[in-house]
């Protein structure tokens, strides 16, 4: 087990390096220039642009640029080309809000997805199953931006409940709990919408997996032994059906940046999606490289955990 973990750790670090390299080259290959002066401003002289290139080492050869960027990243000196703030600080500014949003979304999709999946599997063939399938597919098929607009307009315009940002603005909270609840309210709807797709996918995978497991011989054996069907279900079947769920956890993490762009923008939620999107649009190289690196690290950690869980849940998967 220990050697397996060490092996994976080594691989993880190696991968991180490869990813940073690839992301650096992809980013710099993309057409467009990274000047902070987005507008066509006739007062910005070419000499100034040259000075800017010098400042961010853009005049050096690519490998040197890469080295300098990584060096700066690890010493915490890497600065955004847009406002010259340290990128780590900019990311850390957004990370808590982003994590909150994504963890809540994950909580929704895992718990509700599991519930829906189990519900479908236990009533397989029954109209309850059909209904849960239909619901699941309806949720996957919902375009996120579409439903977000409908929800925001419905709530803000027609009901008049504030939902934009991380908490209601211009309000004296009677106590901290009330503030916390208010922040939760601002979090819970975007998280719910964010989770819909993953929720439904989870439920489908789990349902298929449970039904498959229920046909295994050892389940038949358990039945023959006279165990109650719910005991069989929770003790044996469920445990062995969790593989897709675990794969799912590993795959959910990359959405930390990418999945949230539109929803963050519509709900005016200050997360990392907007940060990444702006950085792509503005070709803020240091920001992009750092973001890629951090997301990659998070994902690799997620994968690592899911691989471990895999081994724990399903002894048939050998640790080679």
């Amino acid at each position: 087990m220990l050697s397996f973990i060490l092996h994976r750790l080594f691989l993880t670090f190696f991968l991180l390096f490869v990813i940073s390299l690839i992301s650096f080259f992809i980013v710099t290959l993309t057409p467009g220039s990274p000047y902070p002066w987005g507008e066509m401003n006739p007062k910005i002289s070419p000499e100034l642009k040259e000075a800017f290139r010098k400042k961010f080492h853009l005049d050096r050869p690519l490998p040197v640029q890469y080295y300098l960027m990584l060096h700066d990243l690890f010493t915490g000196k890497l600065r955004s080309m847009k406002d010259e703030l340290p990128v780590l600080r900019k990311i850390l500014d957004r990370l808590p809000a982003s994590l909150r949003l994504n963890i809540t979304a994950m909580l929704f999709s895992l718990s509700c997805g599991t519930l829906l999946g189990i519900y479908g599997a236990r009533h397989a063939g029954h109209w309850h199953d059909l209904l849960s399938s239909f619901l699941a597919f309806l949720l996957i098929a919902l375009p996120g931006f579409w439903i977000s607009y409908l929800v925001v307009i419905g709530l803000v315009k027609h009901v008049g409940i504030p939902i934009l940002g991380t908490q209601s603005y211009g309000i004296d909270f009677p106590n901290e709990f009330s503030r916390w609840l208010d922040q939760t309210w601002h979090l819970i709807l975007p998280a719910l919408i964010l989770s819909l797709g993953a929720l439904a996918i989870q439920s489908r995978y789990l349902r298929a997996s449970i039904i498959e497991t229920l046909r295994e011989h050892y389940i038949l054996t358990a039945h023959a032994k006279g165990l109650s069907s719910s005991a069989i279900f929770y003790k044996h079947a469920l445990r062995n059906s969790l593989r897709p769920l675990i794969t799912g956890i590993g795959m959910l993490l990359p959405s930390l940046i990418s999945g949230t762009v539109i929803i963050e923008s519509i709900f005016a939620y200050p997360g990392m999606g907007q940060l990444g999107y702006q950085a792509v649009l503005e070709r803020d190289y240091p920001m992009l490289v750092a973001l890629n690196f951090i997301v990659a690290a998070l994902v690799l950690i997620g994968n690592f955990i899911s691989d471990l869980l895999y081994a724990v849940v399903d002894p048939r998967v050998r640790l080679e």
């Binding site: 991968l15 597919f137 098929a141 931006f145 579409w146 930390l256 999945g259 990444g276 997301v295 998967v317």
Partner: protein, 293 residues
């Protein structure tokens, strides 16, 4: 003997599916989904043939009529008009072509890559599995959205590029699931037996393991089509879609989102179209999966 058993199992599967096809046609939901999907495909084909011969029905989707902007749905304009006075219904018909094309071709691309890599990794295990799966991990580590944006920026926005980019980026999920399925299948007795009997590895994969993983592959494929459609819509929504004036459901919404409060039909109907199409594909896929089991 084990070989025989495996073959028996396969026959059993085939027998099952034959009897289940009647079951499929008894499922009203699946039937409706199938009809919708067929209808959409038919619309897509008809629209592209008609427009090839220069026939635009009911109206030219790209002709602007500035005096007829943001008209409500009426008999003349079934889904109203957009901010440049273009008939939204005609635009949605043309959007169907794009959505169908993107859905099917992008999935074909992603499936062929994903299944082959997943199968090889899951079957071979060991070093090969490690290498393949680590590269899949590496790909999964990139924020998908950022990858798509960068790739579109690199290649330039066009229909083919968008299909290729969506296809190239969405195969990782398939690969991992197929690999996970194969890892378990590999440990089953009949595969073990077949290997002992000296079956060639590719034969084994294609004849014995793939059919058993068919359920997983089918689910991912069917899930993939609407996913690609949704991805295209999202890209168009952000302005990274196909070039104007080509209409897609996504860019009808993108063009219309600013007018939402004044012209709800610009967002509501294309969104509904995306929703219904995706839903139909999902339901159809689900029904087919049941047949396969």
């Amino acid at each position: 003997m084990e070989q025989k058993k495996a073959d028996d199992q396969q026959k059993l599967l085939q027998n099952n599916s034959k009897s289940n096809f009647t079951h499929f046609f008894k499922n009203p939901v699946a039937l409706i989904a199938l009809i919708i999907v067929l209808f959409l495909a038919l619309v897509a084909v008809a629209v592209s043939i008609l427009s090839y011969y220069g026939i635009e029905w009911p109206m030219n989707p790209n002709e602007t009529h500035l005096d007829a902007r943001l008209l409500q749905p009426s008999l003349e304009h079934w889904i109203g008009t957009d901010h440049l006075g273009r008939d939204v219904f005609s635009r949605m018909l043309h959007g169907t072509v794009i959505s169908m094309t993107v859905g099917f071709t992008a999935v074909a691309v992603s499936l062929s890559i994903g299944v082959s890599i997943g199968a090889v990794a899951g079957y071979c295990g060991g070093k090969i599995d490690q290498i393949l799966m680590r590269s899949v991990d590496a790909l999964l580590c990139f924020p998908t959205f950022f990858l798509i944006l960068t790739a579109v920026a690199l290649l330039g926005p066009s229909l083919i590029n968008i299909i290729v980019v969506i296809g190239l980026i969405s195969w990782t999920g398939t690969a991992r699931l197929v690999r996970a399925e194969f890892l378990t299948l590999r440990e089953t007795e009949y595969v073990y037996a077949a290997r002992i009997l000296g079956q060639r590895w590719w034969k084994l994969i294609i004849r014995h393991m793939l059919p058993n993983a068919a359920a997983v592959i089918l689910i991912t494929a069917i899930l993939g089509i609407p996913e690609a459609i949704l991805a295209e819509a999202g890209l168009s929504f952000l302005g990274f879609g196909v070039q104007p004036p080509q209409a897609t459901w996504g860019n009808i919404i993108a063009d219309g989102k600013n007018y939402f409060l004044d012209a709800w039909w610009l967002i509501f109907f294309p969104g509904l179209a995306i929703l219904m199409t995706a839903l139909s594909f999902y339901l159809l896929g689900d029904a087919l999966r049941e047949v396969a089991e």
